[in-house]
Subunit: 339 residues, 2 copies
């Protein structure tokens, strides 16, 4: 049968999700075309694994960001980076992904094509392959344009032991760059506050950062500060290890634009998502060396931003003026659909 090309001025209909002709054309015309290695004829694909001297890790993440496209990225690049990053902060090299697509009836085909292209490009730049996919279409008013879910599989050298359980009092908290850029960029793109500027999401692969940090035997733990931001990572550390996490306001890198927008809108940048940063815990000696190393390799805003102290479970912000303030665990949600 001759294939109809996908019409960019069309919209996705319920029939594109029914398993029949239109769905086949959608998958062949967009996903199979963009993702050349994806075998759309099989119910399950071969997962090529070499297990000598390595562990395999698995992670999964859902993405609901609104708007679907924002300065610095889109839901497609965000999904690939997000899953790649969960593997990277676990010490693994990202290798394979699966991709679930939930489309709301009425989505512009041109948007779907752009986002699929973005997914393919991001996979290529991160060195990962999508091996399995699925598409569902839901009625208008039962979705958010497009939701994605990605599961990632990565390979970790044996002997790498990272985790909250490795953290000890005296260890230092390190961040690889400015915090809150993604959350702020999405809020601005969504709410049309009339605040413009050059602010972009920081969404990116953190593999270049984790590769540097993994060279330091004093590395205890890494996490990407997405939902809930830096403050939530600090709370996870404090509550799991029963320690006090002291953050040093003066050292935490925040862009002036982010600070300004947060002041106007009443957000705290420490709770806003970053999608291309790493928060890491290292021994005191390793922390200083690793930050210098990161700065030299182009991560100029990398900094030691805090210390782990024995004591009660809490997160303290030591202010510029030397005062102290408790950073509470995030309660309300000012920001649904930020990632």
């Amino acid at each position: 049968m001759p294939k109809e090309p996908i019409r960019l001025d069309a919209r996705v209909t319920l029939a594109h999700g029914n398993g029949g002709r239109l769905m086949r054309e959608l998958i062949d015309g967009i996903f199979a075309k963009e993702l050349g290695n994806l075998d759309t004829q099989v119910d399950a694909a071969r997962l090529p694994l070499e297990t000598s001297e390595s562990d395999w890790l698995i992670t999964t993440d859902g993405f609901t960001v609104e708007p679907l496209e924002f300065p610095g990225g889109d839901i497609g690049s965000l999904a690939v980076h997000g899953t790649v990053n969960d593997l990277a902060v676990s010490g693994a090299t990202p290798r394979y992904l699966s991709l679930n697509v939930f489309i709301e009836e009425g989505l512009e085909m041109a948007v779907l094509v752009r986002i699929s292209h973005s997914i393919a490009q991001t996979c290529e730049s991160c060195g990962v392959q999508i091996l399995a996919g699925d598409t569902k279409v839901v009625r208008r008013g039962q979705g958010g344009g497009l939701y994605l879910a990605t599961t990632g599989i990565g390979q970790r050298r044996q002997g790498i032991e990272l985790g909250l359980g490795q953290i000890q009092p005296g260890d230092r908290l390190v961040v690889s760059g400015t915090v809150g850029d993604h959350g702020t960029a999405v809020i601005l793109a969504r709410e049309h506050f009339g605040l413009s500027g050059n602010l972009q999401s920081d969404a990116a692969s953190v593999v270049p950062v984790t590769e540097v940090l993994l060279e330091y035997p004093g590395l205890r733990f890494m996490r990407d500060p997405t939902r809930g931001g830096l403050a939530t990572v600090a709370h996870d550390i404090a509550s799991t290890t029963g320690t006090t996490v002291r953050l040093l306001e003066e050292q935490i890198p925040v862009r002036n634009e982010v600070r300004g927008v947060c002041e106007i809108l009443g957000y705290d940048p420490y709770y806003l998502a970053s999608e291309g940063r790493v928060v890491a815990v290292l021994s005191p000696e390793a922390a200083e060396l690793a930050v210098a190393d990161l700065q030299q390799r182009g991560f100029r805003d990398a900094a030691v931003i805090g210390v782990i102290e024995s004591g009660t479970t809490r997160v303290i912000l030591q202010t510029r003026l030397g005062g102290e303030r408790i950073l509470p665990e995030l309660e309300d949600d000012p920001l649904p659909r930020i990632c």
Copy 2:
């Protein structure tokens, strides 16, 4: 901190998805409790793989069924069975899953608890473990109560070669049980037509069926006839192999209740989803033996229902009266959110 138990009379709020305290309580109180092996402290979990003498397969699927609970199952059991079945029809033993949860603000906590319990029970009965999970909450009016995405990983003995490419003219089409039960049960549960009866979804693991069929060297291909039903599997076979698929109306098992509901509502049961059946292609000799074998093991409705013929790409239904009718490829979608 003392843990608040999950209140069954509460509803999910946006704050349950923000990465903070309520989200932690939701995950600890429901998912971690039901899924004992799930480590909620890590960004990526170890995937325990033994690779001697086996291949690993990966598959993924999204689930949007409405209503979330229906006679014979719910979205949770459907999701686990659906992904387990995609591995089973590929010749693999299902082993591990990841689970993505997209909750619409306002979902009753009691429903989420029941469905999580159903997920856990179905995993246990299928012998699979959930290794990774993620939860997102979207605003009211931007979801369908609950959507799930599952990625599955299974282990296949080396040497099993199944696929559309193995099919030859003369091969027989076999089905393991009645068709259209799931689709019909969901339509009835959703639309409140006032048609009652004992009709239940057929949603189930097909591993007991595929294990029987895999004993026959004449087995070429298996698929579970979900979205688009039996007719869509027949079309996939015809269009990929360039053959004519002849279906024998008299041999296709359809429950009287399904036939009756379809006649009243104007659906064709051959296009309706089954979620616990297998459509398989086998050599003529193997087909007869395998069907007798299945019937003996309790799959009493198993039948040889068609034949693969060389010729043009099409699907023909040979009617009870000896006539012929072309079964077209599914075009419209009478049934969104059926799986």
